[in-house]
């Protein structure tokens, strides 16, 4: 094989010089750059021309050449690159080192394989050490990740438990704080047919809420967005866009039941405490306090209070369905509304605000239907409220 032939030819060049260096106590600074040759029996290093050029003439005269007999040479690998070959004499007070390619091969060749055996052992040992270190680093990284995941879920769980101990008045305070940030100019008057309509639905559903004594209030805001949300403490906002979009009063009741459930299940507070809990946990681990303050101020904003996890959405769906059932309304009117939205305006993004933040609607429809089947059979009456009048008043 030609490749091999070339290599062997090069290796056997008796005058091949390598650039390297020497460590010896006789050298000022202890180290000097050297040209290295390997004779059949010795490694010979002489100060390189470069090194001599910057040396005091009196010192040059004192510079010897350094020799290590191959028979007593001990080799090692190291250096910044990990590929530098170090040759030491028996007393280990003289070191000749070289990083050049081919040096190790020539060394092995000249020593009749003895030194390449040694180098091979060193390489094997170092590879083993690296391997072990990498193994433990991986174990460490995986353990840290695992702890992080466990920590995350325990914080979430702890936050849920902690909420139970917080009085409802806390929800109300946070809710009214957030309510102040909502634009009031677009709010419809209390005697507007739309406001009366939603208030009546809320009054109808109220006795069946998980926390009936909660102070439910609902306002209607003039906006083309199809959206509705509940704040902690029971304050709700319905956009006129949603009322225009709804086909029946039952569908509006479905949305409201869902939103009321968010309030009674205290999802807003849960969300805040979870994010605060996670930030607090991060702060404990890393020691950064700035983020906590920033998040605290953010928590008062509506966005964080009204965007829930999928789990919370599903919970609110089922609790809403329960409320509707007990109020004598069809629980499936929750699914009916967003089913209609999805079908009609699937490609208009603005319309999908209420739906997009919610779980996959096929899953929701399914889980609501499943839940309905577990409920006692009941004749559902219609909601005897006139949505058409409301919609006309909004034109």
């Amino acid at each position: 094989m030609p490749w091999n032939v070339i290599k062997v030819d090069k290796m056997l060049d008796p005058n091949q010089q390598f650039r390297g260096g020497v460590f010896h106590h006789s050298i000022p600074d202890g180290r000097i750059g050297a040209d290295i040759r390997i004779s059949p029996s010795e490694i010979i290093a002489e100060p390189s021309a470069e090194a001599l050029s910057v040396m005091d003439p009196s010192e040059i005269a004192r510079m010897p050449r350094w020799v290590i007999p191959l028979s007593e040479c001990q080799v090692d690998l190291g250096g910044a690159s990990g590929r530098m070959v170090f040759c030491r004499n028996k007393e280990r007070d003289l070191t000749i080192f070289c990083e050049e390619r081919g040096f190790a091969a020539v060394l092995g060749d000249r020593s009749g394989g003895m030194l390449s055996e040694q180098l091979h052992l060193v390489k094997k040992r170092q590879a083993g050490e690296n391997h072990r270190f990498r193994f433990w680093l991986t174990v460490g990284a995986v353990a840290t990740l695992l702890l992080g995941v466990i920590g995350y879920y325990s914080v979430l769980a702890a936050a849920r438990l902690a909420i139970a101990a917080v009085p409802i008045s806390m929800d109300e305070k946070i809710g009214s704080m957030a309510m102040q940030t909502i634009e009031k100019e677009q709010k419809l008057a209390a005697d507007h047919p739309a406001t009366k309509f939603v208030t009546e639905i809320v009054d109808r559903l109220k006795p069946h809420a998980a926390i009936p004594e909660m102070n439910f209030k609902v306002i209607v805001i003039q906006s083309s967005e199809v959206n509705a949300f509940a704040l902690p403490g029971g304050q709700m906002v319905v956009y006129t866009g949603l009322l225009k979009k709804a086909e029946t009063g039952e569908q509006v009741a479905g949305v409201l039941a869902h939103e009321m459930s968010h309030a009674t299940l205290r999802h807003g507070l849960q969300r805040v405490s979870q994010s605060l809990g996670i930030v607090a946990a991060i702060q404990f681990l890393i020691g950064d306090a700035g983020g906590l303050l920033a998040l605290g101020s953010q928590a008062a904003q509506t966005s964080i209070l009204t965007s829930y996890s999928r789990q919370s959405e599903t919970e609110a769906d089922l609790e809403g369905a329960r409320m509707l059932h007990e109020a004598g309304l069809d629980p499936e009117s929750i699914s009916a509304f967003f089913d209609k939205l999805k079908k009609e305006d699937g490609d208009i993004p603005g319309v999908l605000v209420w739906v997009s933040s919610h779980p996959l609607h096929e899953q929701r429809i399914e889980s609501i239907a499943k839940f309905k089947s577990t409920l006692a059979k009941k004749e559902y009456g219609p909601l005897d409220l006139d949505l058409d009048t409301v919609r006309k008043s909004l034109q």
Partner: protein, 269 residues
């Protein structure tokens, strides 16, 4: 060998702009009797205002040139020209080396200061408060932590070297380091004090405290104590272990710790 007048004679010129730094008063009296720190070096330099806010003052003769980190120049005489390129003076490198250098935390460009007249002075200093040192590079190469390279003779090649992914992720050190090779003078800066260590065998340095080390030293990441958990609880975490024989420069403070201390106290924008 050197027929030039000693730097002291050109000192009067240099003092013209030194007195503005009050901390230098004490140092000035000392530097009057300074001599060449190394008999080898052909470059005349003086480390002023040591050790807390060190600057390097060069006395350049006509045609002499020095390569500096971008932004390092504090002041200079009128007879010095500045050339900014991504190449080393010797013509080595180019755009690729410039890009590689950026990964180390250094700048894409290098500034070459060339004296057009005799007896010109150039004053350069690092970004962070701290010391500077001179390292005569005689053979082989020096591996320098990104931001510690300050200046070097134009004969020295400045390149980036890959230090490995693991060490970067776990030690917080840079993935690339600056590799200076050739024969000439190297000026390194530190955050805080700088101290040289002649390693023979093994030596451990906390991450972030390394300034530079010779190519004969092997650098590995390891744990400070026997147990990994203990190492972290002790606040030392992972450390850098040096093996072999050679010179190592360490700094007394480390920039990431300062960042951690100040970062959270800054107001968000």
């Amino acid at each position: 060998m050197d027929q030039r007048p000693p730097l002291v004679s050109s000192y009067a010129q240099a003092t013209l702009w030194i007195p503005r730094m009050p901390a230098c008063d004490l140092i000035r009296s000392q530097s009057l009797n300074f001599q060449y720190l190394s008999t080898f070096t052909t470059m005349q330099y003086d480390l002023v205002c040591r050790p807390a806010s060190t600057a390097v003052r060069f006395a350049l003769e006509a045609g002499e040139s020095i390569t500096c980190e971008v932004g390092a120049m504090i002041a200079m005489s009128s007879g010095i020209t500045v050339e900014t390129t991504s190449k080393s003076r010797g013509g080595g490198g180019g755009i690729m080396k410039g890009i590689k250098r950026m990964f180390t935390g250094e700048n894409f460009f290098l500034n070459h200061f060339t004296s057009q007249q005799s007896q010109q002075t150039l004053l350069i200093g690092p970004t962070l408060l701290g010391d500077c040192i001179h390292h005569p590079l005689r053979s082989g190469s020096m591996v320098v932590q990104g931001s510690s390279w300050l200046a070097s003779s134009s004969s020295i090649d400045i390149d980036a070297t890959w230090r490995g992914f693991t060490s970067a992720v776990f030690s917080g050190e840079s993935m690339f380091w600056v590799k200076c090779s050739g024969t000439g003078d190297l000026f390194l800066s530190s955050y805080g004090a700088i101290y040289p260590i002649q390693v023979d065998g093994e030596y451990t340095v906390d991450t972030g405290h390394i300034v530079a080390f010779e190519d004969t030293l092997q650098f590995k990441i390891g744990k400070a104590g026997k147990s990994l958990i203990g190492s972290f609880l002790g606040g030392e975490g992972l450390v850098c272990k040096f093996q072999g024989q050679g010179k190592l420069y360490c700094q007394s403070h480390n920039p990431p710790s300062l960042g951690k201390l100040l970062g959270p106290k800054l107001k968000p924008r």
